[in-house]
Symmetry: C2
DNA sequence: TGTTAATAGTTGAAAATGTAACTAACAAGG
DNA sequence: CCTTGTTAGTTACATTTTCAACTATTAACA
């Protein structure tokens, strides 16, 4: 790409950010409005809902969220009794996390909204665009 | 989308965030490493580079960045003598922003890296994916 | 063993962000 | 002119995030 050709509006990191921010803020209204959750808290909650009995580190790696953010999100989720933490007897550095019934109820509720929201997004796109977009984003997430 | 089908890893806001974060952090190394700029500062600088003599409000609208963020980014850019601000004589609420030669030099330098980076990204994707991705992201940014 | 390194996670201070309230300048209608 | 409303931008304060240093526990191996 030559200098003269450059257009900020087509620059990938910029476009990705715009789209990610727009959809994040839009979906945020749901989990923030219904449960007062922050973005990181919601993300951690969803990981706990999908993968049962995991450790904080698993969330960090899978979601690429820094451990301090995860640590603080877990504190809040534990304060609200959405999550239990129990240290592994064999290796006491490890802490196994699990959703409480309350936490799971919140997760299940938000799951429905997430499904609806995904439909909202994909309805904006053609089926072909949706498919290509997903595969492209998965590739780019690994950079 | 039914509940059982739901997979966090395919949830659009999640995927968008992962890809946006990955590419942002990656490209950030360049402008942060070379000039110690923050993400918002870099974005504002690029808008000033692309569109000469604009107002803070134009940046807010085009980039969808909140006015307080733009205001603070401009303070820093002005402190570094990358930007000049002159109030409009006809309407003194308006402040025209322009890059200084220094600011433009930084912009031009980063422009090259941005071009290279965009090539890096698009080389990961097929031409078809690149094209579809761009148009899809532009649609989604308008949500 | 005993020393050093690695792992999981927390904490505190500094930096950045978000929200709302604010100033300053102009516009519009009486 | 004089109130009321609007626009552009800043500031203050609370909340979040980041960065680096920290604790506690286990692993590696001389």
């Amino acid at each position: 790409m030559k200098k003269d050709d450059f257009d900020l509006r087509h620059f990938m990191p910029y476009l990705l950010n715009q789209a990610a921010e727009a959809s994040s803020l839009d979906f945020q209204q749901i989990y923030k409005g219904r449960y007062g959750l922050l973005r990181t808290e919601w993300r951690v909650l969803f990981h706990l809902g999908m993968y049962h009995r995991i450790m904080a580190k698993d969330i960090c790696e899978r979601a690429k969220i820094h451990k301090t953010k995860v640590s603080r999100a877990l504190q809040k989720l534990a304060d609200r009794r959405y999550v239990t933490r129990q240290t592994d007897a064999a290796d006491r550095r490890h802490e196994w996390l699990e959703l409480t019934p309350q936490g799971r109820a919140v997760y299940e509720d938000l799951l429905n909204y997430a499904g609806q929201y995904d439909e909202k997004i994909t309805s904006i796109l053609t089926p072909d665009e949706t498919r290509v977009l997903r595969s492209a984003l998965i590739k780019l997430a690994k950079i």
